[in-house]
């Protein structure tokens, strides 16, 4: 009964999404406030209906209702509650439903917060959101319905894919989708502005918090996914340039560019056309990512054919929104007025350069991901584009971008003084150079690239610190005055500094991978094996049974010099039910580094074939990403941004908190 109710709610949601698409847009164009006013209510109703559908499916999972195909295929009555709830999005149908639910949630939030927005803009924004929701609801109903019943009800479900049975599943997809789908708001705002024909700093002020929110979630989602792959797949890598990873990286790169260009637009009323284009492109890449992951077209060209309906349908949605958005852009953009002029050497100029590098790296990832597919379609040649290509293209772009970041951060708006900035950054440059030289000296004979990367990371951190210090410190002012200024700084200044420093920390973590040590060996009991600064030796190898699996466990003791540093355990696990083997890596964190153990095989004679890695500073990779997201969150809490989110927009003009604009 619950399931039918959910199914019905989903069909109803499609109907209200259509209403949400057509009536408000009509109202916005015909200047009919009554029709335009429909936008908010229909957005709320659509959200409520999708929520009912979503909860109905969740209830079916919690109650282990195996008469539902989707539940029978992906759940098991003995699963812990967490994996029943997160099992909903462990599969294609359920994750599409989550996707749509987050989409309509964003629309409802925009409707809730949009009281201060011009009525016509709000109506057209919600209309576009409704159109996207409608398209995906139709997709779910026609090709990926999670509510289908089984005629022969099985006694037991098939269980979850064991790789997915992990807290990562509970966190990673929702975060990623909040990011992906959050960029739909920027897209809708862009289309709304194009329909409207009006775009100004106020528009940027409305769109910026949504972009920032999406960016924070996407950053967290990618970092989480990377760490999950790191500990779950057991290869010790944290980024594989897999098409699915690239699908999330592309919107992140483009979205980061968008984030920076909306700042220029909000502050200086410049870069309007470019910001609109970026909004459209960012969400287009989100859609493309969804298509790549969901259609299976990339992993194998042939799985596309196994269920062509899905792939073709999403391709249709893709064409409609990307093509539609870009056509509208080409048609209307020339009529938009360009505002705010600026000198090439200025904060604006620096942000334009930032956009150039970020957009280019997004395109490099895009080209690399799609090239094999396109080439095969054109002339049948099969080629592979793997990690070497992506490293060769994106790394130089990023290094150049990051070297410039502290300059951009310190330049003044409108017309900057490069010499002055250079002088102010002299100390930061000195610190970075010193850090680089010191590491060179300490690790003589080691890899040369690591100290260089470390220097770059320190340069970013010191550059951010310089920016904050320059805003607070005046020659001769007392300590209390400095602190007062520091507290008085707009939160967005702190947010920027923190986010850039976080990037620096991630860069240090990445560079340190070059110092990583790897030891492969077949070892007997108590036979010592050295891994970097540590010595490990096999304590015992045994078989063990756990909840839903049996495993071969190898247990090692870790010594640093003469002192014992605890145990590390790794296992080869066979999951009952699916009979699928996984490697459970053993990871122990020492300081900022990690010791990583991964068993290949336990031989019949009791010896163990094992791989150990010592990964110094590796935790900084994800720690930096967390700090970046924190910086974003602090910016989001900035008064100006908060005001844009609140309904009392009219008082915004009095905020002159920004001391140094």
């Amino acid at each position: 009964m619950m399931v039918e109710l959910g199914h019905f709610a989903l069909i109803m949601a499609f109907a209200t999404a259509l209403i949400q698409t057509i009536l408000p847009m009509w109202g916005a164009i015909a200047r009919d406030p009554g029709l335009a006013g429909m936008a908010r209510y229909s957005a709320f109703v659509t959200f409520a209906l999708v929520l009912i559908a979503y909860l109905a499916l969740t209830m079916a999972y919690i109650g282990s209702d195996f008469s539902v195909v989707n539940v029978a295929m992906n759940s098991h009555s003995t699963k812990p509650l967490m994996y029943k709830i997160s099992g909903v999005w462990s599969n294609h149908e359920g994750s599409m439903l989550l996707w749509v639910m987050i989409l309509v949630l964003f629309a409802a939030l925009v409707a809730l917060r949009g009281g201060g927005m011009p009525e016509r803009l709000l109506a057209s924004v919600l209309s576009v959101q409704g159109a996207i929701a409608g398209a995906f609801l139709l997709f779910i109903l026609l090709t990926s319905n999670p509510f289908l019943r089984l005629a022969d009800v099985p006694m037991e479900g098939q269980g979850l894919n064991p790789i997915l049975e992990d807290p990562g599943l509970a966190i990673h997809p929702p975060l990623l989708y909040l990011g992906y789908v959050g960029f739909s708001v920027a897209f809708s705002f862009a289309v709304g502005a194009l329909v409207h024909g009006r775009i100004d700093a106020v528009w940027a002020r409305f769109v910026r918090p949504w972009t920032l929110l999406a960016w924070i979630f996407l950053t967290l989602g990618i970092a989480m996914g990377s760490y999950w792959a790191y500990y779950e797949l057991g290869w010790g890598g944290w980024w594989f340039w897999d098409p699915v990873e690239n699908a999330s990286l592309m919107p992140w790169l483009m979205g980061t560019a968008l984030l920076h260009s909306t700042i220029v637009m909000e502050k200086r009323d410049a870069l309007k056309v470019w910001t609109i284009l970026l909004s459209i492109l960012t969400f287009s890449l989100s859609l493309l990512g969804t298509f790549l992951v969901r259609s299976g077209v990339i992993t194998s060209v042939h799985s596309f054919a196994s269920d062509p309906a899905r792939g073709v349908f999403i391709l249709g949605i893709l064409t409609l929104f990307i093509g539609g958005g870009l056509s509208l852009f080409a048609w209307r953009a020339p009529s938009l007025k360009q505002g705010g002029l600026f000198a090439p050497v200025s904060r604006e100029g620096a942000l334009v350069v930032n956009n150039l590098f970020l957009a280019t790296s997004a395109v490099a990832v895009l080209v690399g991901t799609l090239y094999p597919l396109v080439l095969e379609t054109i002339n049948g040649s099969k080629i592979s584009v793997g990690a070497p290509y992506f490293n060769l293209t994106t790394v130089p772009l990023f290094v150049c971008l990051l070297v410039l970041v502290p300059f951009g951060q310190s330049l003044a708006w409108k017309r900057g003084d490069l010499m002055g900035v250079g002088q102010r950054l002299l100390a930061a440059f000195g610190i970075a150079l010193l850090a680089m030289m010191a590491t060179f000296a300490l690790t003589r004979g080691g890899p040369v690239a690591a100290p260089l990367g470390l220097g770059l990371g320190v340069w970013l951190i010191a550059g951010s610190a310089t920016d904050i210090i320059n805003r607070c410190y005046r020659r001769g002012s007392s300590l209390s005055a400095i602190f007062e200024r520091a507290f008085g700084l707009p939160r967005s200044a702190w947010g920027t500094a923190l986010a850039h420093a976080g990037m620096g920390i991630t860069v240090i973590g990445i560079s340190a991978t070059a110092w990583g040590v790897e030891s492969l060996a077949v070892v007997g009991k108590h036979e010592p094996l050295s891994v970097g600064p540590y010595t490990v030796s096999l304590e015992q190898a045994f078989k063990r049974k756990g909840e839903g699996f049996r495993e071969d466990v190898a247990q090692f003791s870790v010594m640093e010099g003469a002192s014992a540093r605890g145990l590390i355990e790794t296992s080869k696990r066979i999951h009952t039910g699916r009979e699928m083997p996984t490697t459970e890596a053993g990871i122990v964190t020492y300081g900022l580094g990690q010791l990583y153990a991964s068993v290949n095989e336990i031989l019949p004679d009791g010896r163990v074939s094992i791989r150990f890695y010592w990964k110094p500073l590796v935790t900084l990779i994800w720690g930096g990403a967390l700090i970046m997201a924190l910086g974003g969150a602090i910016s989001l809490a900035d008064r100006r941004v908060r005001i844009a989110l609140s309904t009392k927009t009219k008082r915004a003009s009095s905020s002159n908190a920004e001391a140094k604009a």
Binding site: W235, G236, G237, F240, W241, D242, T299, S300, L341, F342, A343, P344, V352, V353, L356, F357, A359, T360, S361, V363, A364, V367, G368, Y371, N379, S381, K382, I383, S384, V385, G386, A387, P388, Y389, N391, T393, V395, P396, L397, V399, C400, V403, P447, A449, A450, L452, G453, L456, I510, S511, T513, A514, G516, E518, L520, A521, V522, N600, S609, R611
Partner: protein, 156 residues
């Protein structure tokens, strides 16, 4: 120049392989082994999803790793080995596609885009400098001075 060197070197870091090589495969000569790893991190495991033979546990990947090492021991150069594998399995085996007519767009497009974007930026910035040169004429300047001095007076 050093920055460029930095770029190039950072690439090497990022490409440092993480291995699924098994202990019995390792060659005695560390320099040959080093070459074997670099080489096999750029070769695709044909039966896996986007894994190099260096990362993969698949039996085929193991066979290829052993094959690469045998060829290295018998004195073949990296290019000879790559050519041999391409002959046998097609271009598909190379994770780093060779520069050819087929991959021209692949390798050129990021750099072309960067150059194009840079060129357009230079052009627009030159135009905006021209726009900036507009100087206030004498009456505007007089009016500005008047306003500024009025403001000074109200403040003091």
């Amino acid at each position: 120049m050093r920055r460029l060197l930095g770029c190039v070197l950072l690439l090497i870091v990022a490409a440092t392989p993480l291995l699924a090589v098994e202990p019995d495969e390792i060659l005695k000569d560390p320099r040959l082994e080093e070459r074997a790893r670099t080489l096999s991190s750029e070769l695709r495991c044909l039966v896996c999803q986007n894994q190099s033979i260096d990362d993969s546990h698949a039996p085929l990947a193991r066979d290829l790793r052993v094959l690469v090492r045998q060829k290295l021991v018998s004195g073949d150069s990296d290019d000879t080995i790559r050519a041999f594998l391409v002959e046998r399995y097609g271009e598909f085996i190379l994770l780093k596609p060779r520069f050819s007519l087929d991959t021209l767009v692949l390798w050129m497009s990021p750099f072309a885009l960067l150059l194009l974007g840079g060129w357009m930026l230079l052009r627009t910035s030159r135009r905006s400098i021209l726009a900036k040169v507009e100087v206030l004429d004498s009456t505007e300047q007089a009016r500005l001075d008047e306003l500024l001095s009025a403001k000074e007076q109200t403040r003091s």
